[in-house]
Symmetry: C2
Subunit: 661 residues, 2 copies
């Protein structure tokens, strides 16, 4: 639930009014800001800011300088893909934001990162100050009203950048501009139309109908977009969205509104999440957001679409939350890896020969093994996230299903990947990883909620498998070929895995794609058989699916991994031969082979032999040592300014020496 | 580094002086407390406090009452095993501690848990207030000076209980009473004896020699136990421990001492960790802790033991930190599971038939699957932790090696298990899991540091495998039988796994032990072969081990799992036939089979066939539904008072209703 009105063809007259509501909601108690916002600052020179990393070089253990064999700027354009100048402009703004962005100097370096030692009350105030500060500088210009592919991509780029500074800042701005919601069919809030006054009556009929976790509800919001069951003359027309004022301009609660503070959380304390109860609150008829359906003054329900179509359109608009979460999770993983890998290039520990020199952490095979598969996955998921963003930006009814399934899959898989990556990076930095100034540990707490908000990951993955199964069964039933969700490969003959896997075979994208497709099609068949078997035992359709949760989980993973691999292969194929392509090949092979090594379904269901599994493990070890020389270049390509990293991303002894503390 | 003087035969005269130093360190600026501590409060009635859970009953989805088929009090005595009355007394003290322990009423219930919304400065002050408050009530009576098995066990029980309230409180008190240290051989601080004045000169010769993460160093400590290289007349006698005063009674830094604050961490903010630099600080000769060696006034080094023996004795005393971390990690996992399982017995979601009733979370097979294997592991590890505590309490030179290896193994495995369990429990509670009042999310942040402090888990596990290998090679070399670390089974013929695994076979402890032993012995052989192969390639011994990190990891896990299973089997065998034994059998089988399902080494190296793997997976599913009726009893047996759980451990709707907020 939040305020939103994107892509809606507004009827004349009400458009201005609604825009006014939006504006008042967004700028809180400070109305003149939106209308008198300063012109955006000019973009700072790119070279000064983002490529400062290029000046930073480590010597290898043997003493020679590391040189990057590929152009990190070119790699970055493959990763960020769009709005790179705007991202750098926003990074620069925040870096130059002084005390508003908590600029700190330590050991001669500048860092910007929130002061997480503040109690939640101050963290919330700081988030609001930051939003106002960025608003004054034009960062949110057009977010509300601009539509189309370019605007969508720009907004997502801004989200990814804001969340690289602080998750609260990203989430607070997102809940204002994107729709957010949970289990939408089960909404219990009611909106009853009263034609005698031309008003809707919004009500919370029971405790379980209260609105929970609403960003801004505890303190700052003046208006809320409320998802309610629309009731007209006793007929339920399903879920619609209504704008309800909850506080006046001075921050006092409106009549018949009760709120409560959700209190301290493990992260995201810059967002004042709250609970709301509505006690028969009356709102004007025009407060219905009427993009999909409207109500006439005399109580006629007007819609061109049937309930399922309305619900589908509604879901499509909800997916932006999942898209932003999925892609931002990858930016978070990139941040964690940048810090941990740079640390491992400065920190030495133990020696391998008596009285020999201490070895750089990143030169330990086990340390490479902890970080490089995660680095490769982050790359591959980044590419896949870019493809998801394009599906979203170019959304139309024909691909709502694809958008829904892919955004659900990636939201779950990418946020799990982010948490796993941050945790591994935190441990790879030892105790330094729990110091808040080094960012990674705090990011774990800030991003943890991602795996359960905007759809619980496990529930999303179960739905994904169910959708894939439904697609498969529908094609079978109508004797048609599969034609969506990348399932077309199932129309082809089953791929065969060679019994002898040489290094060349293991690294060929065709082999990798075949292995992933084999796993997906077989798990789909097993899942279909299991569900059918359960149903034949008399179980309901729902229960038959739940009982097959293990195969459902395996299938969801197989589906996601295959989608991600496709994206990585496509990026690699799009560029011409050279060192960049070669490094992308290493990364793609590391992605594919470490997925195969980790998912025991390959062995369990016999897609590969034990001998194959041994060959794959050996190849992953080889890939670790081949990725080692490119590690710094691979994280430099992420493009984070130095000031967004923690002190241990530079020199761990220097960062903790007497002169720096 | 910290203050410590346990089990040391103190020479007459200096004993009193040293005890005085200890006392002044512990009680800070408030000397009279230790000597005038009030008599311990009488123990509250057990029934009132700990078994209040027994009154708490949930109805099953079908409506009938759940009755416990076994005695939870009896189960608790198997789990806690010692000092149960003292544990309950301490729980009761903290529960009755009013605002010092941040007593909060919500929805008619009382909760005690720190206010983690406070900045670290206030969290630290509260930790000190709590310590003083508990000290006044006799909680720490005898901790410093009492020795022997009973005293050791009591101290560990108090640690487990204190950490159930707050990790900072446990750690702060532990660093005062137990020795803590990291990579001890590499210590760079120097202590040079000056016989002309009868003083040691303590010095930090370079930045990397600074003391880091020292609990109490930033603000509160007056004395520190400093691990330094002892230098007499130019000869290095190795690491010894010295008491150094760092602040006066008013909290002012002493001359030639510099300190810095380690700052905000993701958890443990109630501990003022700091850095210390010593600039040629002079301390009296008597400040050497002389249990193992002493220095005469004229500079004679006096020790009955050779350097390796001294180092071994030193290591043995260090292991208490690992023992306390390992066992407390299990108490943390127990707390997370208690909250998450109780929540899953109150929260309903979705229905499985159209318009059917919503289903309790814990009745979803997938939800059982998330929590029950972790519950079973927590039980088994709890039993194994009890065995470790006995090895520690009865330590003597002959079992230092065992103590060192087992404490290292369990410290790593149990803390990883705790983090995994807390994370799964947090996600299983959805968004409620990130609310600090519900404890689990905050515990993740508080306990995260466990996996890297007091020895990095990965490094510890590598050392464990190395020790196991050394034991194996030594026996081979001298043509002797293996006789330690539970490796005796390798002397026997290799066990055989039946090709057809029935339910009865799968649940027999003999089959489970055989499977674990087979894995361990084979991985040991593979690891030995790999290290030898690496050495034959010309690699140094150290590097040969590092290169075999994958097998080293697999072997470490196999070693630990087998040790834990042995403990679980022993507890089960120790009790007479009946419902308690039956439930323990379910739990033990769940432990063994879920270990087998999770570790792909079983399939990868062919210890079981694909068909076996399918049978194991099915059996785990069956065990989930068989454990379901006992879930509440199993967590009630952990014995946490209601006030230590979060609001969602009761009724999630009630906890968030208007009347409760």
């Amino acid at each position: 639930m939040s305020l939103h009105h994107r892509n809606a063809p507004l009827p004349a007259g009400t458009a201005t009014r609604r825009a006014g509501i939006l504006a008042s909601h967004f700028i809180l108690h400070d109305h003149h800001h939106l209308h008198h916002a300063k012109a955006a600052q000019s973009l700072p020179s790119n070279d000064n800011m983002v490529h400062s990393n290029a000046c930073f070089s480590f010597s290898s253990p043997a003493g020679e300088e590391i040189t990057f064999v590929f152009d990190t700027k070119e790699m970055r354009s493959l990763l960020d893909r769009h709005n790179i100048a705007e991202r750098d402009w926003l990074f620069g703004l925040m870096q130059g934001g002084g005390e508003v962005f908590n600029r700190v100097e330590k050991g001669g370096r500048v860092y910007v990162s929130p002061d997480y030692n503040q109690p939640m009350q101050q963290q919330r105030e700081m988030t609001m100050r930051r939003i106002r500060w960025l608003l004054d500088r034009g960062v949110f210009k057009g977010w509300c009203m601009d539509t189309g592919v370019e605007a969508d991509l720009r907004n997502l780029a801004m989200q990814e950048t804001l969340r690289s500074y602080d998750h609260s800042l990203g989430i607070y701005t997102a809940v204002h501009f994107f729709l957010w919601g949970g289990a939408v069919r089960g909404i219990e809030t009611t909106a009853t139309y009263d034609s005698s006054t031309g008003e809707f009556i919004i009500n919370t009929p029971r405790e379980s109908a209260q609105k929970y976790w609403i960003g801004g509800a505890a303190i700052y919001s003046t208006h809320a977009a409320v998802f309610s069951q629309l009731n007209i003359g006793g007929i339920n027309q399903g879920v619609h969205v209504f704008v309800v004022q909850i506080r006046d301009a001075d921050g006092n609660l409106c009549p018949n509104i009760r709120t409560a503070d959700c209190g301290r959380k493990i992260g995201l304390n810059g967002v004042d999440n709250g609970q709301i109860w509505f006690d028969n609150v009356r709102i004007p008829r025009e407060n219905l957001l009427n993009a999909i359906a409207d109500v006439s003054p005399d109580g006629q329900y007007l819609s061109q679409k049937d309930p399922e179509q309305r619900f589908a359109a509604f879901l499509a608009s909800l997916t932006v939350g999942r898209v932003a979460i999925a892609t931002s999770a990858i930016y978070s993983a990139k941040m964690g890896l940048t810090i941990a890998i740079r640390h491992a290039l400065s920190r030495r520990a133990f020696s391998l020969t008596p009285n020999g020199p201490e070895v750089l952490l990143l030169d330990y095979p086990s340390h490479q093994r902890r970080l490089f598969p995660l680095l490769a996955k982050t790359y591959a998921m980044n590419f896949a996230g870019n493809d998801l963003k394009m599906i979203y930006a170019k959304r139309k009814p024909e691909n709502y299903k694809t958008l829904h399934v892919v955004s659900s899959t990636f939201k779950a898989m990418f946020t799990w990947h982010n948490m796993r990556t941050l945790q591994e990076c935190r441990e790879a930095c030892g105790g330094q990883g729990v110091k808040v100034e080094n960012r990674i540990g705090q990011m774990i707490a800030e991003f943890d909620v991602q795996s359960t908000f905007e759809g619980d990951n496990n529930v999303l993955m179960q739905r994904v498998s169910k959708e894939v199964l439904a697609e498969f069964l529908a094609a079978k039933k109508h004797n048609k070929l599969l034609s969506r969700l990348g399932l077309e490969h199932i129309n082809e003959p089953c791929p065969v895995i060679p019994s002898q896997l040489t290094s060349a075979i293991l690294r060929s994208s065709q082999f990798q794609i075949n292995a992933f497709r084999l796993r997906e099609r077989d798990l789909l068949n097993l899942f279909a058989a299991k569900v059918s078997e359960n149903q034949q035992k008399g179980q309901s359709k729902e229960y038959a699916h739940y009982q097959a949760y293990q195969l459902s989980k395996d299938l969801g993973r197989a589906f996601s991994d295959r989608m991600v691999l496709q994206s990585a292969v496509a990026v690699e194929e799009s560029i011409s031969a050279g060192s960049l392509k070669n490094v992308l090949g290493l990364v793609r092979s590391m992605y594919a082979l470490s997925c195969m090594e980790e998912d025991d379904a390959f062995l369990r269901y016999g897609y590969i032999s034990r001998q194959n599994a041994g060959a794959i493990r050996e190849e992953v070890e080889k890939l670790c040592s081949e990725m080692r020389p490119h590690a710094l270049a691979l994280v430099s390509s992420f493009g984070f300014p130095d000031s967004f990293l923690g002190p241990i991303a530079f020199d761990w002894i220097e960062a903790n020496s007497w002169s720096s503390v």
